[in-house]
């Protein structure tokens, strides 16, 4: 045997098989990144999601449902937007310029006022209890839309703090639909080749590993070695995309546009991942639980979100990506109308707002309303289940006909007593 031959680069096939873990199917896709024309065409038709999560609760009164100069309105003004008649808080001047792309819903009434239980309930779409743990929206979309042909995991989560493989998001779908979390926008742990291993050594050791497996599997069941080769292929694939996770190579001009905040950098990384074809990109921002000093908190934190979010909307629109990318910006609930003694607002799930845009979503509209003081919803109330129906529909997935298959048990993908909010759909 000639070992020189062993030391060729691994073949660059793109696999359709599932990411992150577990033994998976056997089909290997045929489409490589070497066919950019076709890849772009496919990318154009594929649906993707950008999910911006403000951990804690964004105040609806300091964002999408301002009630200036009223009892609970807070100190801020409302400003006009590019859509006549729609006003939002003055803290969002740049997003106001993007309103023609956005849909606002002001009639949310969700069910949980607590963080620890509320985050899961909201991100799982709060379905009827069947004794199973439902997947988070990202895992749900990863399962329903698949990874596409990007060669990247379908669910990538850019977040502050630590990263890793967050399989718990996947619930009953199983670990392979979990999130690859880029903590602090950094590459996954152990992705980059250790300094002590040269490129040549890396090639050699992988080739020797394959050789060992080929010998071992002779006259054995093949499932184990196949599963092992599969994850090594995935590792190699991810390593080939390592440049995507390197935030030091983000374009300086764009960095300036997205702003100097960590969130700005993470959103720009998110744009790069969407452009690379990742199905579901979640970007988190922390520090939105303003029980104390709510107005100063929003005063200095919102501009960071405003800058990056508006730049992202502009870029998605300029790149014609809004037809295929569903964008949602939300937190787990709103904040109380009443202002407490340490000038904060507490948790409020009974009348709050969020914005969305892109694939399948009507543009430049406001749906639902609260009363004059902003305390309660007037007219139809909407729960997170309605939004899951709306978002699945916007992604071309029929939520009333599509079922998960949980080891033979068919399960609805969204609360079956609810339906899409038609006024939000294009």
């Amino acid at each position: 045997m000639n070992f020189k031959k062993l030391c060729t680069p691994l073949d660059h096939r793109i696999s359709r098989r599932q990411w992150l873990g577990g033994v998976a199917g056997t089909t290997a896709g045929a489409l490589g990144l070497c066919q950019p024309g076709l890849a772009q065409e496919l990318r154009r038709r594929r649906k993707q999601v950008l999910f911006v999560w403000l951990e804690g609760g964004l105040s609806q009164l300091e964002s999408w449902d301002p009630k200036p100069n009223t009892l609970f309105g807070g100190p801020f003004r409302a400003i006009p937007t590019t859509v006549p008649g729609i006003h939002i808080s003055e803290l969002w001047p740049r997003t106001a310029q993007q309103m023609r792309h956005l849909a606002v819903i002001r009639s949310l009434h969700t069910q949980d006022n607590n963080h620890s239980s509320g985050v899961g309930r909201i991100q799982r779409g709060d379905p009827a209890n069947r004794g199973v743990t439902y997947p988070y929206f990202g895992s749900a979309v990863a399962n329903l839309l698949g990874p596409g042909e990007s060669g990247l995991p379908p669910y990538i989560w850019v977040k502050p703090g630590s990263g890793g493989f967050v399989t718990s998001d996947a619930g009953f779908l199983g670990p392979r639909y979990g999130a690859l979390a880029l903590g602090g926008g950094r590459a996954p742990e152990n992705l980059l080749r250790a300094d002590s291993v040269s490129e040549e050594d890396d090639r050699e050791r992988l080739a020797l590993r394959q050789l060992a497996d080929r010998r071992y599997v002779q006259q054995r069941r093949t499932q184990g070695t196949e599963a092992n080769s599969y994850v090594y292929d995935m590792a190699a694939q991810l390593q080939r995309h390592a440049h995507l996770f390197n935030s030091t190579t983000l374009p300086a001009r764009d960095l300036e546009r997205y702003g100097p905040s960590e969130f700005g950098r993470h959103m720009l990384l998110g744009r790069r991942l969407l452009e690379a074809g990742v199905t579901f990109v979640k970007v988190d921002s922390h520090g939105w639980d303003t029980h104390g000093d709510n107005f100063n908190g929003h005063s200095n934190a919102v501009p960071k979100i405003d800058q990056a979010f508006s730049a992202m909307m502009q870029d998605l629109a300029d790149r014609s990506m809004l037809d295929n990318v569903l964008v949602v910006l939300m937190s787990e609930f709103g904040r109380t109308p009443r202002i407490n003694g340490h000038i904060g607002r507490d948790h409020w799930a009974e009348g709050w707002s969020l914005v969305m845009a892109g694939s399948g979503i009507r543009r430049g509209v406001v749906v639902g309303r609260t009363n004059a003081l902003g305390t309660f919803v007037e007219g139809d109330e909407h729960d997170i289940g309605h939004l899951f129906h709306t978002w699945f529909t916007a992604l071309g997935i029929n939520p009333s006909r599509t079922r998960y298959n949980n080891a033979g048990q068919p399960l609805p993908i969204a609360h079956e007593d609810m339906e899409p909010i038609r006024a939000l759909l294009a």
Partner: protein, 530 residues
């Protein structure tokens, strides 16, 4: 050939009802009969057996020295002798603790007292019914500190989420009765006619008044409030309200004694003294008395099925927690026989695992019989590749890399210091049973690039790479490497390839040795118990 004939003979004896034949022979006969003439894999060779039996009963692969000693032995009964030595050896208790910790806690958490409790129990060869009695009664603390962890970990809550009593109820059903009543919480199971809502609710009554102990101690503990009434439930699909008191599925409901308010305790709880009090009627005590008993067939079937899974890689009932009429065992007679004999031997765990390890079924090769492409796993004609736990992998890597021989110092890894890292890299998420080999991207990246593991493959005085580096004969170095990592000598082609690989890299032999070693560690052969 000789073996097959003898097995056939035994099979005839067994059929004739000569039950005094040892259990392992009876089992083999039944497995053989079930195969209806299909071919079986041959016996594992000494090296394969050696590795398997070390992993199962010492929790690690053998050292090169231990391997040489066994492989050089010419004794006819060397396998049984080795097995008995390991069963009596100092690592048996920790290896069994490993199997049962993963099985019972499903990576929900870890506690030093719990591990100590399990290890002591296996060291004493505590009967399974007694072990379960202590786990379900959460102690008593003085006698069995740590036993409460099974309950207490499941009684913790996170933030505003309520304690997940339904999950605790399900886990008791799954892990001690082999029945997952998950979907029977709100209605009779839709697809499993044996699983009734009544079963779930009856089991639920045992635990619904139990909560985490507030006593300020690091030892896990639970407390219990009086249970004074039955619960009432109805199906979410409608229907009449039904009542149940505490009832172990398949057994009789336990009557709740009528006690006046204020008279529920033999000894009232004392918050200041941190005394939980003693109830006149404790549902936990009732559960621990009723569930682990010979009369409870589900209890007996569950444990022998789970021990079979531990050593054979697949349950006779599969999945392990779906024992019901429409999911019959692959070998009903084997399951019945094991259950009956285990009870007859007073739940003697060491006896049962020894009998199982003595079967030909256990000792078969994982190589398929000639011309057979795939053998159904439930036929047990070929040994199954089993998942290695994070703990087994760590112990084996420390052993194989020779890091166990490096003088203890800061930075030199030990099982205790590296355990959390390996659990993070290789264990499943909480409540994901670790039942099959399921490599993950996370674990792969860890093996590829984790700096600590890579450093074990740098020469350090006394470790594997140090030994290999000092062995100037490449052929001998390759033999040492294979024996240390894969517990076998290289085949002729393997040795030739590896020697050539080293010969071609004379100028950089240390990294070449490291590359070879790494490749073996990352191979499927190393990563499974085959």
């Amino acid at each position: 050939m000789r073996i097959v004939i003898s097995i056939c003979g035994i099979w005839l004896f067994a059929q004739a009802g000569l039950a005094q034949e040892s259990l392992h022979r009876q089992v083999d006969a039944l497995i053989l009969a079930n195969a209806k003439g299909k071919t079986f894999s041959g016996s594992a060779d000494d090296a394969e057996y050696l590795r398997r039996v070390y992993l199962d009963f010492a929790g690690r692969i053998p050292s090169a020295t231990e391997a040489r000693r066994f492989l050089d032995s010419k004794e006819v009964d060397r396998r049984t002798k080795l097995l008995d030595a390991l069963l009596a050896g100092p690592e048996y208790a920790a290896s069994m603790e490993g199997h049962f910790h993963v099985m019972l806690m499903e990576r929900l958490g870890d506690h030093a007292d719990w591990k100590k409790y399990l290890q002591r129990s296996f060291a004493d060869n505590k009967p399974w019914d007694e072990l379960v009695r202590e786990i379900l009664a959460a102690g008593p603390q003085e006698k069995a500190p740590g036993a409460a962890f099974f309950l207490s970990k499941r009684l913790e809550n996170y933030g505003a989420n309520p304690v997940d009593y339904p999950a605790l109820t399900r886990d008791i059903g799954r892990l001690f009765l082999g029945k997952d009543f998950r979907c029977a919480q709100c209605h009779d199971h839709l697809t499993i006619k044996d699983y009734k809502q009544h079963d779930f609710q009856g089991l639920f009554v045992f635990v619904k008044n139990v909560s985490l102990s507030t006593a300020k101690t690091t030892t896990p503990g639970v407390t219990e409030k009086p249970t004074t009434a039955k619960i009432e439930f109805s199906s979410v699909f409608g229907g009449d309200k039904v009542q149940t008191g505490p009832r172990v599925p398949g057994l009789k409901e336990i009557a709740i004694p009528t006690l006046k308010k204020g008279e529920e305790y033999v000894e009232k709880p004392d918050v200041k003294q941190q005394k939980p009090g003693v109830l006149k009627f404790s549902t936990l005590a009732a559960l621990s008395e009723q569930l682990p008993t010979p009369a409870n067939q589900a209890f007996n079937r569950n444990i022998v099925n789970r021990l079979w899974f531990v050593l054979m890689g697949r349950g006779l009932v599969h999945p392990l927690d779906l024992d019901h009429g429409d999911n019959p065992p692959s070998h009903p007679e084997v399951l019945d026989l094991l259950a009956k004999e285990f009870v007859a031997h007073k739940y003697d765990i060491k006896w049962l695992v020894r009998e199982l390890a003595l079967t030909q079924t256990y000792q078969r090769s994982s190589q398929l019989p000639p011309l057979v492409k795939n053998a159904k796993p439930e036929e047990f004609r070929t040994a199954l590749e089993r998942r290695m736990s994070a703990e087994q992998l760590l112990r084996s890597m420390l052993q194989a890399t020779g890091m166990t021989e490096v003088k203890a110092a800061k930075g030199v890894p030990t099982f205790d210091t590296m355990s959390p890292t390996f659990v993070k890299a290789f264990a499943s998420e909480p409540r994901e049973p670790e039942e099959e080999f399921s490599p993950t991207l996370k674990a792969t990246l860890f093996l590829l690039n984790d700096k600590s593991v890579l450093s074990w493959l740098e020469a350090q005085p006394g470790n594997l790479l140090d030994r290999l580096g000092r062995e100037i004969d490449n052929r001998k170095a390759v033999e040492e490497l294979y024996l240390s990592v894969l517990t076998r000598l290289p085949g002729i082609d393997e040795a030739a390839d590896a020697v050539r690989y080293l010969d071609e890299r004379k100028g950089r032999r240390p990294v070449a040795l490291r590359n070879l070693a790494w490749a073996l560690f990352a191979s499927t052969e190393f990563c499974v118990n085959h």
